[in-house]
Symmetry: C2
């Protein structure tokens, strides 16, 4: 419908139609538009000063958002930012190319309190609580009466739509307690906040990683988590809608990393060269590993002269890849959700467990392959060599699948990066080395030539 | 500390220590205990009637939860369930083995309203909104004044800790609007709910899949989503804490499925045979595919007599696996988050895009491998054959990586299932077929023998 209006040029009607839609719905609609159409609609929203143009921007795909922003004047972006909460403004600024970001920051009025907050927030590390927090929250001193607090809450509610807690602070702004709205509803109006507050508050530091923030919120079923600075002063909150986004984004990030790429792909979706560039390093790494595996194959093959050996290379490589990626997936996901902690007892139990499962699968597959190999080759050594190598490869792949992610986590890297291509490549090369060593061993043990 | 107390048998002190801990913290602590220790602590919580024993149960690992429940008497489980909200009670009942579930249901007082709700909820499909919803919510009629609504809210808040909306219903219980707490705070006490309500409510049906419920909540930044039946009557709500769990669980489920296993592994974590059994079907499927690939290798190899050909099998297989899993990961994740919709325009654009990226990567890798092959083999046909096959394999792997998940989604299966082992196995076999066909072609074109 909007597209039809666009063609006919019914600007006023488009603006009215979109003004009545929820930002989330506009974003879904925009996904079906070409970039040029998106820009037409969005320009209209901005020039007609439709209140929620900024919110629509937030809901768009990263790629569409960047596309629109880079076509807009810095002044226009500045005006849009003013309609957003501080965390959302930081989010939009973060998405801008560096040059444009500087221009926008230079233009927006730095005197205004909100934008000095935004500047301070941009100084925190990527993905830290300080970077993603919202600086609009309701914090009242302990001596505030329930009646006063209710009145202040009412004023605050005019501007902010998601309020779940009132935070209690001392006269230095230090966080001393929390009071859910429910407490306010039930408490005697003559009491003061200090009397009804819950003094044990789950809080995070501005430097805390967003993944940990999200895990805490989920573990304690919180609707918002307060963020404090080095002096324990309350400086912001991370609300549940952002926590939901963190869970989605972190999972997406891990999916992409485990496949040997990165979620930056989503931003550059329609630029094939850029996307290929993101994937290329890991692909080349894997390619080198595979060429190496090929050299090993050639080196050994020439010493055996038995063509039948070659037929089992796919089995060894494929199984190593499979079992390795199962184990590493489970390890990476365990580390990401906090289920698997790197403490000696738990790590040992997990590794042992994965090895046992690998052993059961390894024995089953090895037996089947050996029987198959026996009937196919009727050779005295090949079935044994294939069976034993497959078993060893699967065991090593399981161990590799646990240890590589754990090692990466310990070294402070994201374990998801390691999981996909690194585990796969090393398992490919190791599997082929094992296969041909075992073959050499059993051929000589059984006294048969290749 | 609790463990030390356990050894010394300081039961009263343990109970007091645990009573002061948050359920989430108790769950983390329990993870470090042996099953026997877990049972000791939990029995104590139940016999000393520590209020939040039920909530602690909810926060435990699925495996520990099942372990504790199967050791408890049905009567005790029944008493625990009574302390939980309806959605949590359904969740615990769902985790029980069928026999024990029946016993517990037979024992709990069916006259009590809550448990008739629970019974009704168990009748809804797994993972549907009806199954996971909470039947405790505040629904008031349109004619209720703001002052009355505030009073009713106050009463309701005594029992329920997460309230974000008041739902507005007509005299048949049909959902006609919603009013956030904030509206109540700001509205004139003499008005009635019908006047201040927002009549456009995002709602789901009892049959809606939980993944869709979670996507809606995220898209519209909602703290709860109302669930209605066929007559549009409000029967429950899904709250944001559950939505958060859905996101976590669905992502975990997809990670496991894409690795060719299932998140049931988490329930049977310490039972290796059971876990191996979960993984075995896909492993065997893959094994058959790989043996097939091996037969193809043997079949062609004997016609060529050139050992050098074999060295590139790992490259062809490995690259097909890599590119295929990248594409399928992105497709599966796109389908799960709702970014990729199966509508002709979007699907065509996505497929085309992935093919282009595959082509860039394919050309790069093929050139590198051809150059490598030329210097390694000095053969007139092998470098061309390897390069062309690698390019074709990568293109086919990209196409496969998009089409298989999309096809599964269309057929009503979870696309994540298809992605891992199915795409990998078919790419392995296809890659090797292409490689040897191309080799045969170029050998005959260039008039060289194997």
């Amino acid at each position: 419908m909007v597209r039809r209006l666009l063609r006919r040029g019914g600007r006023g009607r488009i603006a009215r139609a979109v003004a009545n839609m929820r930002p989330g719905d506009v974003a879904v609609m925009m996904r079906a538009f070409t970039p040029a159409e998106q820009f037409d609609v969005f320009k209209l929203l901005v020039t007609e000063e439709i209140g929620h143009a900024g919110e629509i921007l937030l809901e768009l795909d990263p790629q569409s958002r960047l596309g629109l922003l880079t076509q807009m004047k810095p002044e226009t972006i500045g005006r849009l930012l003013e309609t957003l909460s501080s965390d959302d403004a930081v989010f939009v600024l973060d998405a801008l190319p560096e040059e444009l970001q500087k221009q926008v920051i230079a233009i927006v009025d730095l005197e205004e309190e909100k934008f000095s907050d935004v500047q301070a927030q941009l100084a925190y590390a990527d993905d830290s609580a300080g970077r993603i927090m919202d600086t609009e929250f309701l914090a009242l001193e302990e001596s505030t009466s329930i009646a006063d607090a209710t009145e202040k809450l009412r004023n605050f509610a005019r501007d902010v739509d998601m309020i779940s807690y009132i935070y209690v602070i001392d006269d230095h702004g230090r966080l001393t307690g929390v009071s859910p709205l429910r407490t306010l509803l039930l408490a005697d109006p003559d009491k003061n906040l200090g009397e009804v507050k819950n003094p044990s508050v789950i809080r995070v530091h501005t430097d805390t990683d967003q993944e940990e923030v999200a895990q805490l919120a989920a573990r304690y079923d919180l609707l918002a988590i307060p963020v404090t600075d080095d002096e324990n002063r309350l400086v912001g909150i991370v609300t549940i809608d952002d926590i939901l986004d963190i869970f989605k984004d972190e999972a997406t990030e891990d999916f992409f990393k485990m496949a040997g790429t990165s979620d930056d792909e989503l931003v550059y979706e329609d630029r094939s060269l850029k996307v290929a560039g993101i994937r290329l390093p890991w692909i080349l790494f894997n390619l080198v590993g595979l060429l190496l595996a090929g050299l090993v194959v050639n080196r050994f093959e020439s010493t055996f002269h038995t063509a039948l050996l070659v037929g089992f290379i796919p089995v060894i490589m494929g199984m190593a890849g499979n079992i390795g990626s199962q184990t590493s997936t489970i390890a990476v996901r365990g580390l990401a959700t906090g289920r698997l902690k790197i403490v000696p007892g738990q790590l040992k139990r997990f590794t042992w467990q994965q090895m046992k499962v690998g052993a059961i699968l390894g024995i089953t597959c090895s037996l089947l392959v050996s029987i198959f190999a026996f009937f196919q080759t009727m050779h005295p050594a090949i079935p044994v060599a294939v069976g034993v190598s497959l078993f060893l490869t699967v065991q090593l792949a399981s161990l590799n699948g646990v240890l590589v992610p754990v090692l990466f986590q310990r070294l402070g890297f994201d374990p998801a990066i390691a999981s996909g291509p690194l585990v796969t490549t090393s398992n490919d090369v190791l599997g082929i080395l094992i296969y041909f060593s075992m073959t050499a061993l059993f051929f000589s043990l059984l006294g048969v030539g290749g």
